[in-house]
Symmetry: C2
Subunit: 193 residues, 2 copies
């Protein structure tokens, strides 16, 4: 039961001694998921934060017509949760579902709060993670504003090729804000280049 990946991740987010990172990692427990399991269901409060060590997780919402819209892909190494629901303890509006068997390291809200109070490096790490997440989202938003559909697709396949091996093109299409039909056409054109 090696937490090496988690320890490494913590140190990457916030440089600190290995001892300190190990101390933090001790508050996480292993959890295994099968493909299609739900880590979080909309309407419930997100009470755990998961470090994804293995596997792929998809976040999505369901719109009024019943269509799923992919809001996030979470692939190793990253934390998966709904920040708003987790920290404010309000019902979540998103679903987190595994796209493959997954291995995660989990910490509960209560334990995390406890650690925030007692380990300054942990809360600093938490802040850095939030900032990194905000920055990534900001970057993605910028892509929505200034890139074409084709460019967004190319960017995704270049930066996160692993996503394509575990989910449908339909899910990828809604993630970049287009229909599956349109994505299929884009893929066809790119083949001819």
């Amino acid at each position: 039961m090696s937490k090496q990946a988690l320890i490494q991740f913590i140190q990457n987010v916030l440089p600190m001694s290995e001892e300190k990172a190990k101390q933090i990692s001790q508050h996480f427990n292993e959890k295994l998921f099968l493909k299609n399991d739900y880590i979080l269901k909309e309407g419930t409060v997100c009470r755990e934060s998961h470090f994804i060590e293995e596997g792929l997780v998809r976040g999505y919402v369901v719109d009024l017509d019943g269509n799923e819209v992919t809001t996030h892909f979470y692939s190793n190494p990253i934390f998966a949760n709904d920040f708003l629901s987790f920290f404010k303890r309000v019902p979540s509006k998103i679903n987190l579902q595994t796209l493959s068997n997954c291995k995660t390291w989990v910490i509960s809200y209560d334990e995390l709060q406890q650690c925030f109070h007692t380990i300054p490096e942990f809360r600093e790490f938490g802040r850095m993670m939030l900032i990194n997440s905000y920055s990534r989202l900001q970057n993605r938003m910028l892509g929505m504003l200034q890139l074409s559909s084709e460019q967004r697709y190319e960017k995704l396949i270049k930066t996160h090729p692993e996503i394509f091996q575990n989910t449908s093109l339909k899910n990828i299409a809604t993630y970049i804000g287009i229909t599956d039909t349109s994505l299929s056409r884009i893929r066809k054109e790119l083949l001819h280049k």
Copy 2:
């Protein structure tokens, strides 16, 4: 020199006693800006965080063709800064420019760090602000994924009409991810309804 708006904002973000909120607010100083002043220029490190009490601020980036893309509008009551640049002390990629005369309450990075260490409620407030910002951005991203251009325009004018009084339609167009030509057409159609 009343900090009432700031104190109120702090208490709204994180419920706490008025005494505590006042104590926090004491670390902020008043700053006045004229229209078109820069609060932050790209390439420089964001060393201050500004609570906007009066006025409107626009965040934007410049793309390869020299076109400005509006990334944010900041209107009272809200904090304006570049989280990534501010907390990681790296050069910012965005510009923050006032669209009107502004009155802000400012705190420097150093003072904020100091306060984070000495006032638990302050750092908790900081975390809540980050989460709120993340959540708003997430919500906006969701709008990009599942709303039409027209719907995004209508949502913006409904939730933030004040923006329209201080900036050009061109800036609003890039904010919702369309061209000014397209926005003009949308406005025309909405008039006929």
